[in-house]
């Protein structure tokens, strides 16, 4: 495979850079429907590659990718690291989580430092909403948002969309987008960047999205994002095609927002009985890591045919490979992308 083959326009999209005219990937809110579809299409080749035993290309050979994580992460960091390495890039991880590097001028100084080291792409996770955009303004290379505060986690939404697309395809329900698909997102919507990115991505692709949370964990005005709102999971889950559960942070279920974990499970846990209220074939998703027995029961999480949770992890690598490929095309001199 040569670089040019990989980035050849598929015919459905504008040629070259016009297919994805962004330097950075900071938020789904910045993307048009066709740009999301382009990213998903481009990821398909990496899904295939990742299923072979030899999973390496030299596409990004010589490029340096820095994963700057200001917040603890295991799976997202690993996923980005594997994605970069499979594309042949030199990947460096910087852990600055929770410790000294929390104050903002340090954040900008860190950005300037990384920039001076001539990174070719920087992947950032930070605990404050908008932090990735702030850094993107200060550096000369593409910036990928791996989660900023309660704002967005765009690659998670893209990998969820890719996962859904594959699952629907295997059932013979393949279609260009998710028009008419009923999705419920349940959990801590207020603090969830995964929820915000997924709402934007799924609605952009035509899905009918409901969000469900206790009142204290539901942000006000969320209806303006084109979703319907419910506090009653039994009602919200009725007849849906996809149930997307969110992780509930332990510190939020000990009296501050939720009286207790078992009470949360009572009202919002995805049990087998509750899943039975959804469409008979309804698919189950969770961004991980799961609190088994709290927001999701093991017997649901581990259902072979219905649970897409491990598939989400697989698609994560492919999506991140696609993003890294597309965002570095300009620097690599790919025709039509300078």
């Amino acid at each position: 495979m040569s670089a040019n083959d990989l980035s050849a326009p598929s015919g459905r999209f504008p040629a070259g850079r016009m297919a994805f005219p962004h330097r950075d990937l900071t938020a789904i809110s910045q993307l048009e429907r066709h740009e999301i579809l382009y990213l998903l299409d481009q990821a398909e080749q990496w899904v295939e590659l990742n299923r072979q035993s030899a999973k390496h290309t030299d596409l990004l050979s010589g490029l340096t990718i820095i994963n700057a994580f200001f917040e603890n992460s295991t799976r997202t960091l690993l996923s980005f690291e594997i994605a970069g390495k499979r594309l042949g890039a030199d990947v460096v991880n910087m852990h600055a989580a929770t410790s000294s590097v929390k104050k903002g001028e340090t954040l900008i100084d860190t950005a300037i430092t990384l920039n001076a080291m001539r990174a070719d792409a920087i992947v950032i996770r930070h605990g404050s909403s908008g932090a990735t955009g702030l850094i993107a303004d200060k550096v000369d290379c593409p910036v990928l948002n791996a989660g900023d505060g309660s704002h967005e986690h765009p690659t998670q939404a893209l990998l969820d969309a890719l996962t859904l697309r594959h699952a629907l395809d295997e059932r013979g329900e393949a279609s260009e987008d998710f028009t008419g698909l009923k999705v419920v997102i349940c959990g801590d919507i207020l603090h969830s960047r995964v929820a915000r990115s997924n709402i934007l991505c799924l609605t952009a692709l035509g899905a009918d999205v409901r969000v469900c949370a206790p009142p204290a964990l539901m942000p006000s005005g969320i209806e303006a994002m084109g979703v319907s709102v419910s506090h009653n999971f039994d009602a919200a889950i009725k007849g849906v095609d996809v149930v997307m559960m969110l992780r509930l942070q332990a510190e939020r279920m000990s009296g501050q927002f939720i009286p207790s974990a078992r009470e949360y499970r009572h009202l919002y846990g995805l049990t087998k009985a509750r899943l039975a209220l959804a469409d008979a074939e309804a698919l189950v998703m969770h961004p991980g890591p799961m609190n088994r027995g709290v927001e999701i029961d093991s017997e649901v999480a581990d259902m072979d045919t219905r649970s897409l949770i491990t598939r989400q992890v697989e698609m994560g690598v492919a999506i991140r490979m696609a993003c890294l490929d597309i965002l570095t095309r300009g620097a690599r001199g790919v025709e039509g992308w300078s």
Binding site: E105, L134, S150, R196, S220, G221, A224
Partner: protein, 411 residues
């Protein structure tokens, strides 16, 4: 610096509480000696031709967080009430006494005494001693006093001393660590947000307590429709309740934060467009008594941060007059009312003989061209920091000259 030579400014439009008067104003020994159509310069007076521009009282800014003389003089401010939120806080007579003298002679700073020690909201500070040292009012600081018992004692004590209490109106339990107002914008941005009702809750409680104590209560900033309704109702009942606002809340809504611009991070946070419109209506109908700058210059170490991590506050002194004059062009208020809001009412709340053009008052005067166009440019500001949310906006209204006690201090 005492005024050595009497000054007469002729050919002016004098902004008096009763209306605009074409004529001259004569100042001697630091006070206004005469004004009106039939006043003229006497032998030995310094004379100035205003060429038909406005002569208005120097602005009395209630309140500011920093003393920033170049910015105040640019903005036509001759007196400023300083909030006690300093480092260390103004909770001791010695600190108040020092601040009270700090700006003289060309700027008078009126310190507001911290209501409670360390502004912690639990123990009353030495309010009578601070009054003796020069405090012109009492302020709860950036924070609300959560304990209703403490607030009642404070208001009773302030009533005894005949000092106004300047209160911050945000229920702390609801506001928590919020940096935005609950609603679509905060939700899309993923920012910690509190419902606008946090303001009304605080106002309702404090009005009830002030009524009980018979105290003068001034809400430094009221920014929501429900808050204005409560103040309006309290005034209708004849209570000595007043309120202020800064231009940010009648010029901007939470839309201004949509790109995480930290210059629009202020406290209380920017509100919805409906609340902004309610603010303009409250200014028009007299519910609002004071427009202040809330001047709080903040450098990049406080502002070049993710939105929620940035310090709140804006540098407002230079844009205060021009932003308020927008209300005249928009037919919300007339010119004399502009100077009621910017000078006369705040001077009355502080109990100082200034803030209006009247015989015997301090000769604090501003020569103003209300139509002079300019571009607000943060790179060219006089303030110690450039954090204005109005950067690159067009504005009208400039101060051409400023006198404190009859002595020229700027331009």
């Amino acid at each position: 610096m005492k005024q050595a030579t009497p000054l007469t400014i002729t050919n002016a439009q004098l902004v008096t509480p009763a209306g605009i008067v074409r004529g001259a104003i004569r100042c001697a020994e630091g006070v206004i000696a005469a004004l009106g159509a039939d006043v003229s310069a006497q032998d030995g007076d310094a004379a100035l031709d205003a060429r038909g521009k406005l002569i208005a009282p120097g602005l009395v800014d209630l309140c500011v967080f920093a003393v920033d003389k170049p910015a105040f003089h640019f903005g036509g401010i001759t007196r400023a009430a300083l909030m006690p939120d300093q480092s260390p806080p103004l909770d001791l007579p010695s600190r108040v006494g020092f601040i009270a003298k700090s700006g003289k002679p060309d700027l008078w700073v009126h310190p507001l005494a911290a209501a409670t020690r360390g502004l912690e909201g639990s123990e009353l500070a030495e309010l009578a001693l601070m009054q003796q040292a020069g405090a012109r009012g009492i302020a709860t600081g950036r924070r609300w006093i959560a304990d209703s018992g403490v607030m009642l004692w404070l208001l009773q004590y302030a009533a005894m001393l005949d000092l106004v209490v300047v209160a911050h109106a945000e229920d702390a339990g609801l506001a928590g660590s919020a940096v935005a107002t609950s609603g679509e914008i905060a939700t899309r941005l993923g920012l910690p947000a509190a419902p606008a009702e946090a303001e009304a809750l605080a106002i309702a409680r404090d009005i009830a307590l002030a009524d009980l104590a018979g105290a003068k209560l001034h809400f430094r900033q009221v920014t929501t429709a429900q808050g204005f309704d409560l103040v309006r109702a309290a005034k209708a009942r004849g209570l000595p309740v007043t309120c202020g606002i800064t231009p940010a809340h009648f010029m901007l809504s939470d839309l201004a934060t949509a790109d995480y611009r930290t210059f629009a991070r202020i406290a209380p946070p920017l509100r919805s467009e409906a609340d902004r419109q309610a603010a303009r209506a409250a200014i028009a109908d007299g519910t609002v008594d004071v427009i202040a700058s809330g001047h709080d210059p903040r450098g990049p170490e406080d502002k070049r941060l993710p939105f929620a991590d940035a310090a709140p506050g804006m540098a407002g002194a230079e844009t205060l007059l021009a932003m308020t004059l927008n209300l005249v062009r928009d037919d919300v208020i007339d010119l004399p009312r502009v100077f009621d809001l910017l000078a006369r009412n705040p001077a009355r709340l502080l109990g100082v003989a200034a803030g209006e053009l009247a015989e015997g008052h301090e000769a604090d005067l501003a020569l103003i061209d209300p139509d002079a166009p300019w571009i607000i440019d943060r790179r060219k500001m006089e303030a110690t920091a450039d954090n204005t949310p109005f950067d690159r906006q067009g504005a009208q209204g400039r101060v051409l000259g400023l006198w404190k006690g009859g002595v020229k201090v700027a331009a």
